[in-house]
Symmetry: C3
Subunit: 302 residues, 3 copies
């Protein structure tokens, strides 16, 4: 795609036109229309993943997407690398570049760490999640999923439920949804909500209020493995903010439920709900491959 | 192969006809006759390995088999995955399925863990060893090796020597050998023998008796790395149940020796024996690739 | 290449003619002239890496080189393998051989460990660095880089600066450079210099003397992560032996600087120097791929 950024750090790096083109590309790829996104056998590019935080799910998704496009895939194993001996991320990326890697998906625990490469990226970079800042490929696949489900964000209300204040997914998603005409209701316990909001976004601690207002529910993963001390809100989370099939069947509307995965079954969502037609999380997983194929193709084709 | 099970949990999932077909397929693949088991370049399936117990040897064998067939290969790295954060195996397999993985080889320390998927497997599953229960691909490659060596099990006696009570290889192997007409002698120290046996199987603590009766010797790996406390039988194992070249040359018959590997050289078998024509363990390694190619091809072609 | 050794343990395993042929092959590969080094799609060999010491950089370089040639690539994960349970390296290599692996790149902390395979290698072996002994592929790519820079070693003087006494890179490099007519100046603190030298090699503790004499500077990595006790020479290293842009600009000649990487920026070399035209380390990284492609091709084509 002409003009596609060499580094995709944030959803804000993309114009609405570019986002719509990515969605069209992902749709074509899902429908099996290959041309012209695929790489020739004799010009196969190399895509690398460099994950400074664990995530087998996202890494596997990029690995499959790259290989389906005909690219070579390399996982740069951080645990055995010079990064562990103090080499800077910049030097590591320069090495990958000169070794012939064309694009690198980076996940890092440090919010904003990729901003240093915006001016002059050593190679194509795709942000695979940076701290609590941004997770643009997740939000793009979520938006693609909404269109696939016939849910154009224009004029619709999205309840985002959970630890919003610390969620990079929420940051990227809210940017996309509001730019495409959606309204947002953030819902969760007080310590999980941002202090202030702007634009078409409201806050509520009441799950019932959020459910009444929304057309679509987006639940966030409660990161229980990060809780070490007392967890006042976690222990009561399912009771206060968790959803189950009975609760959903009692609503006047029948909003679909998205979740970036992996779900803590029995915390954010009950097992019967995950197995019901309300839950569209598996559609997100399917679409993750096609949206990431589109992003890789656009990044490498620029 | 029409009717091939979507999940291969146990050798008992296969009919004798299906087993014979697998052996024919493996033989054709070994002889370089490709058609029609290979995957087209534009329809390359994805095979994943998901190993909850370490085994580089078996994992590498499946990786090579998959790639020789033209499939994409993905190792799902359990150590960095959501499984470590409490996600269920079922949810992980659903994610792999919806990401586009067609078949998954699973190794697990939990005997019978894969039985939960028999009714409605989320994707094709191949048991790569589950606890002390089953290791069907090992037994199938062993049976293939026997036929390659001209040793039809019908009417032959197989001495299985070592820690039989805890061996998943022995479970799978005895099922195959007895269904194809073989007789079994289990041999080892008392604590390594099953309490009772049925069918054409006998027990002995005498190595000399086992050697006298058998046409083929199958030695099992003593898992010395699992011994933490006192190991009364391990310390004397080589003296009482280990084999060396001199002992073999003293026998009236010249039975071949199989071993699923890796051998503890100097424990089950001496180094001179492993380097002698009695030892057919390297034939098993060669055949592991072709049998696993056959199994992958049959699983994905069903 | 006819007569190319099945095991490349040391630069001494290669004749000058073979080295020159490798350089020609690497040059052709870099210029995009494919024939006849590449592997047919239906006869793709398997290259494995088996690294008993960590090095993501070198491993990735071999992985990319193998895949650019059309070979399959397998990383044999030592940490989960039977090697950890006491299996010998020989048995592991025999398993890889019989599984169908054609060549294995081995890195080991044990100097000379690969010598045991010289008489009858179980499969093709490429030394990826063994203890303080040899690192032949690094030295070959360095020599290739010199020719690419128009720096035929004949009659030139090379200052090798750093911990020479413990450097496998230095051992391999000095062999190549002196055989191709170069002269060597070893420079570093006393504890880093060899006790004695022979041939066209001299020793000095004076950086200024080394810089005055040399046409090319080759800096070695100070392995700070290996220092646990007091490090008298490390703490003052940058002051006494480190190079920066100002120092280089003050020299009468303008020698290029090579480094096998990763550089400790601020120790061996300053950041401004690494970003200046003096530094040719990124050329080495580029050339690493083409030289390793040439080595793999020659090894597998013998």
């Amino acid at each position: 795609m002409s003009g596609f950024p060499k580094i995709l750090e944030s959803t804000q790096d993309l114009s609405k036109g570019q986002i719509s083109t990515l969605i069209s590309m992902a749709k074509s790829l899902k429908e099996g229309q290959n041309t012209p996104f695929f790489f020739d056998q004799d010009k196969r590019p190399f895509l690398a993943t460099l994950f400074l935080e664990n995530s087998t799910r996202t890494k596997t998704s990029f690995a499959i997407a790259a290989q389906k496009l005909g690219a070579h895939y390399i996982d740069f194993d951080v645990s055995t690398s010079s990064l562990k001996k103090g080499e800077s991320l910049e030097e590591t990326l320069l090495t990958l570049k000169y070794q012939g890697v064309n694009a690198c998906v980076i996940r890092t625990p440090n919010s904003g760490e990729l901003a240093q490469f915006k001016k002059d990226p050593p190679l194509c970079i795709i942000n695979g999640g940076d701290g609590t800042n941004q997770h643009p490929t997740q939000a793009l696949l979520d938006l693609f999923t909404l269109y696939e489900l016939g849910l154009d964000p224009q004029g619709k209300t999205f309840a985002i439920i959970g630890d919003i204040a610390h969620s990079r997914v929420a940051s990227s998603l809210v940017d996309l949804l509001t730019r495409f005409g959606g309204k947002i209701v953030f819902c969760g316990p007080k310590e999980c909500l941002p202090k202030s909001v702007s634009g078409p976004v409201m806050l509520t601690e009441s799950l019932d209020e959020a459910l009444e207002l929304c057309d679509v529910i987006y639940t966030l993963r409660i990161q229980k493995e990060r809780h070490t001390g007392p967890t006042p809100y976690y222990d009561s989370y399912h009771k206060l903010y968790g959803l189950n099939l009975q609760k959903m069947q009692g609503l006047k509307k029948a909003p679909v439920i998205l979740h970036p995965g992996p779900v803590n079954i029995g915390v954010e969502l009950s097992k019967d709900l995950v197995r019901s037609p309300f839950y569209k999380g598996y559609e997100q997983v399917i679409n993750s491959i096609y949206m990431r194929m589109a992003i890789i193709s656009a990044t490498l084709g620029n």
